[in-house]
């Protein structure tokens, strides 16, 4: 592997600035790397070579003129295929959008473009972000660069695997119940889900609107802070985006965690947790303590309800959000051969052929939960319980600044292992879901490698809009442990 592939955004930015490296060369090197690895990893669904090289050339011209719009200028990045990008195929990992070419840019894409970053391509994912293994992609699974027989996690599996495989510097993913943090943990990279409302969702193909957030996946915490600074902020096109000022997340990242209060929730050491992960998490607690943090045991008593709440709210919203894929205006249309009326026949044939098994399962779950007669028992109750989970966090954050836990209960599992066991698959997100339920920011960072050579993730959760503190904690840990320097042998 070429050395320049291993440079961080800050390092690259310096080299591009003093022009010891051109963005064109960098970009071409990444395309070579994609060629070299992606046949095995399958992180990419589409490659945007011509556009990317053009953008790189423009970046180089700007560097020459000493015009620098952001630290991302000229930096090769890739994005989850759930993000609409003008003139490119945007599939959401689904057959139903196999040939959909977006006529517009998502707000985060506009921000990346304005920052001068080079977008290499669109990344694989579980169909409509529903899944924890990337196996539910209609276009074949992504493989974990650490062990190709294992899943990269999901749904942003392509986003995590590409960063881990060094086939992009960093990527964007989306997190509805752990879809950034869980694959980040599985692939040994940094993944952050910002506070709900921190990043505009405009142009992110919706899975569950009240839970979805876009966030970065990177090789280290500084890179994560840089990207987050670029993509965050209020957007008049997204009413749920926050008007809170966006700090420069990099600025105070190295201030340390002396005196920071870190809470350890008992409920997050679940039964059946992998012993190596448990041990690594306990070690992390000790590390934090030696770094000057005060460790406080806390309780989040309603944690056990987070998963069931999630599996009511997320499918309910998804069943509604996915209604627009009806074959009328865009996407797959299949005429009916059934005895139904031709219109409703067309709807059901198109949706039956276009959607995969997991998506259909969730549409059915959600439709059921919203049906008259069941709505109160499921949806209303889930919303009520959701406030209990939120209150748990409010109470905990009266005592602590951050909450620490493992990101996943197990390391990346084998391809096919949980594919026919949806309930078991759903449990992969048990430690990440509460964050989405409460709209809180959370990060997953590297916490070592198991004896079988698979990465372990550590999760830090903060108060709403406390991304700065989370990044500070994560950065201190990363500098101390250097786990982030380990990479797969791919």
């Amino acid at each position: 592997m070429k050395e320049i592939l291993s440079f961080s955004i800050l390092e690259l930015s310096e080299k591009l600035k003093d022009r010891s490296l051109s963005s064109e060369e960098l970009t071409k090197t990444y395309f070579e790397r994609i060629k070299e690895t992606d046949e095995r990893v399958h992180a990419y669904l589409s490659i945007l070579q011509d556009d990317a090289i053009n953008t790189a050339k423009i970046a180089d011209k700007n560097f020459k003129k000493n015009y620098i719009s952001s630290p991302l200028q000229g930096i090769p990045i890739a994005v989850k295929d759930l993000l609409c990008m003008k003139g490119t195929k945007t599939t959401a990992g689904s057959k139903i959008l196999e040939n959909f070419i977006s006529p517009y840019d998502a707000t985060v894409i506009t921000k990346l473009k304005d920052a001068g970053s080079v977008i290499l391509g669109k990344l694989n994912m579980d169909e409509f972000a529903m899944g924890s293994s990337c196996e539910h992609s209609a276009f074949g699974p992504t493989h974990n660069p650490w062990n190709l027989e294992h899943v990269p996690g999901g749904s942003s599996g392509g986003s995590a695997a590409s960063v881990a495989a060094y086939s992009c510097v960093a990527s964007l993913g989306s997190d509805t119940g752990g879809s950034i943090r869980q694959p980040a943990a599985c692939c040994g990279v940094v993944g952050m889900k910002p506070t709900y409302g921190r990043v505009s969702r405009y142009g992110l193909i919706a899975f569950a609107s009240s839970l979805d957030q876009i966030g970065p996946l990177t090789r280290n915490v500084e890179d994560c802070a840089i990207i987050l600074s670029v993509i965050s902020g209020h957007d008049s096109k997204d009413s749920t985006s926050s008007k809170k000022q966006v700090p420069n997340y990099l600025e105070n990242i190295d201030r340390g965690i002396q005196g920071m209060k870190i809470g350890i929730p008992d409920e997050y050491f679940i039964d059946g947790m992998d012993p190596e992960i448990k041990k690594a998490t306990n070690n992390a607690i000790k590390t934090m303590e030696t770094l000057g943090a005060e460790i406080i045991n806390i309780s989040l008593p309603h944690t056990k309800y987070a998963l069931p709440i999630y599996y009511i709210i997320a499918p309910a919203e998804a069943s509604s959000n996915l209604s627009r894929y009806d074959g009328v205006r865009y996407g797959m249309r299949k005429e009916s051969e059934s005895e139904y009326g031709s219109l409703f026949g067309m709807y059901s044939s198109s949706r039956d052929t276009g959607f995969g098994k997991e998506v259909k399962r969730r549409i059915m779950l959600g439709t059921y939960a919203l049906s008259s007669g069941y709505y109160d028992a499921y949806y209303t109750k889930a919303l009520k319980t959701r406030t209990l989970v939120c209150e748990d966090f409010v109470n905990a954050f009266k005592k602590v600044d951050l909450i620490l836990s493992a990101t996943t209960p197990t390391p990346a599992f084998k391809l096919g292992e949980k594919l026919n066991d949806p309930l078991n698959m759903y449990l992969s997100d048990i430690l990440t879901i509460p964050c989405n339920i409460a709209g809180l920011p959370g990060i997953s960072i590297q916490n070592g490698i198991t004896s079988s050579g698979l990465p372990i993730g550590l999760q830090l959760i903060g108060k709403p809009f406390s991304e700065e503190e989370i990044l500070r904690g994560a950065y201190a840990f990363e500098k101390e442990t250097k786990f982030y320097l380990k990479s797969s042998s791919l």
Binding site: T240, S320, R324, R329
Partner: protein
């Protein structure tokens, strides 16, 4: 029919959809106006592309608050949008963004006058905001019956749904209620109120119950009503159909029926078993809408004088009869026209102005299918013409001629009177002369008159008018004629 009205009581509730006249649509920046080429007024958002999000148009909220204040409804401090799900090609997202559990307005009432000048007040259940759907086109020749086309220009155009309590008791009242709502939304300048173009749409729920009974009978919803006439006709039809079923001890099936304009009947569209489960739930893409008191009072200050208040003022200030006041205030523009006309008048002439406006002006607008704002006769010209009548310059009869000319040319009445020489001959000497001439020509008739055939007076008037091309002052003429004939 006679017996029916005693035997059963009719119960009607209306759901009126008023399309708001905002510049842009309710959740995106697309042009909301009517009449563009198909799909010209669309964007990524109203077409429901993947990844797009709705952003509420504040003007829609303002319009809703205006109507809410006008009908005395309670304006919610906080309200939400909800998604209403169903599949249809004109509905881009597979759901309509509407309001369900927390509408923007609750309660309120609307009063209207019946033909017999009785005031009836109907309470409102709620008013809520929602987006319109697109339009399917089936009958385009190029389609050769194999497919339909969709025009999404209307998709996302803002609507207010105004739901009444089931307090209307006759088809006639239902029509009057709907007309009054139209008057209101037009006064507030929030909706065109054009039923043919669909900017005002009506769904009616109707049931019958035995007179004196408290509980409701099973109701039928009527859709596809696109004029006030159809509203009344469809309800009248349904009233008879249900009465006949009840007379034969047959059940009235709860269903949705379509009004068939060509046959003047209602037809089954869907029964309750096939009723949609719309799976309403709060739209997570839109934050709860908060409306503070300050905003409401700001809007309150912009409210125009409302029709009922105006009507009372017309009665008190202009001493007009209730009927005149009701007609003149049925439209704000008409009321303005009237007030503009009578600005400089004495009270006694005001009734005359009212008569001309309610009669000739309204007839003219009707014939030319134009609005009062487009009237070729300006209030100033009409006022001048009426002054010419009252000061004796022209007769009422000549005035009709002047009016017709004004309607055609838009000219000033003075000019018309002068150019055409229509000035009334009130000069007694010249009139005497003409009368003498006429009487001398018609000696036979004069004899007959003197012999007691007083009916002939009209004949002489006619002759003089003929001689003067109608310009003789009728009052003076009568006097002179009588004087000369009695000689």
């Amino acid at each position: 029919m006679e017996g029916k009205s005693l035997k059963y009581e009719t119960v009607i509730g209306l759901e009126v959809h008023a399309q708001l006249k905002t510049k842009s649509k309710i959740f995106c920046g697309s042009d909301a106006s009517f009449g563009a080429n198909p799909n010209e007024h669309t964007c990524t958002i109203d077409l429901g592309l993947p990844g797009v999000l709705p952003v509420l148009n504040k003007k829609v909220v303002e319009s809703s608050i205006k109507l809410g204040l006008a009908v005395g409804a309670k304006i919610s401090k906080i309200c939400r949008f909800a998604r209403k799900h169903y599949f249809y090609p004109d509905l881009p997202k597979g759901y309509q963004i509407s309001q369900y559990e927390s509408p923007i307005c609750e309660g309120g009432e609307v009063s209207f006058l019946t033909k017999s000048n009785k005031e009836i007040t109907i309470r409102l259940t709620r008013i809520h905001m929602e987006e319109d759907a697109g339009k399917l086109i089936h009958d385009d020749d190029s389609l050769k019956n194999i497919s339909s086309l969709v025009d999404f220009n209307r998709a996302g155009v803002p609507l207010l749904e105004i739901v009444s309590e089931p307090e209307l008791r006759s088809p006639e009242d239902a029509e009057l209620y709907a007309r009054k709502l139209r008057t209101l939304v037009r006064y507030l300048d929030i909706c065109d109120g054009n039923m043919q173009e669909g900017s005002l749409r009506c769904d009616a729920n109707i049931s019958l119950r035995k007179s004196g009974e408290k509980s409701f009978g099973s109701k039928v919803e009527i859709k596809n009503v696109n004029s006030f006439r159809s509203l009344r006709k469809s309800l009248e039809y349904e009233e008879i159909r249900q009465a006949e079923l009840l007379d034969e001890n047959q059940p009235v099936i709860q269903e949705t029926r379509l009004w068939d304009e060509s046959l003047d009947i209602t037809r089954n569209m869907r029964t309750k078993e096939y009723a949609h489960d719309y799976r309403y739930f709060p739209d997570p893409d839109l934050v709860p809408l908060e409306i503070d008191k300050e905003w409401i009072s700001q809007i309150e200050q912009t409210l125009p004088e409302l029709p009922d208040t105006k009507r009372e003022r017309f009665i008190n200030n202009y001493k007009l009869p209730l009927y005149d006041s009701e007609v003149l205030t049925s439209e704000n523009a008409l009321a303005n026209y009237f007030e503009e006309t009578v600005k400089h008048f004495e009270l006694k002439d005001i009734k005359l102005a009212s008569n001309w406006i309610m009669g000739d002006i309204l007839r003219l607008l009707n014939e030319q299918k134009i609005s009062i704002e487009e009237s070729p006769i300006t209030p100033a010209n009409l006022a001048e013409m009426i002054s010419l009548i009252t000061d004796g310059t022209i007769s009422g009869k000549i005035a009709k001629e002047v009016f017709t000319d004004m309607a055609k040319s838009g000219n000033n009445p003075q000019t018309i009177v002068q150019e055409k020489g229509l000035k009334q001959i009130s000069d007694l000497d010249s009139l005497e002369e003409i009368v003498t001439k006429v009487l001398n020509k018609n000696t036979e008739e004069v004899q007959d008159y003197k012999a007691g055939k007083h009916k002939l007076l009209g004949f002489f008037v006619g002759q003089v008018m003929k001689e003067t091309q109608g310009k003789a002052n009728p009052k003076s003429l009568q006097e002179i004629l009588k004087k000369q004939l009695s000689k």
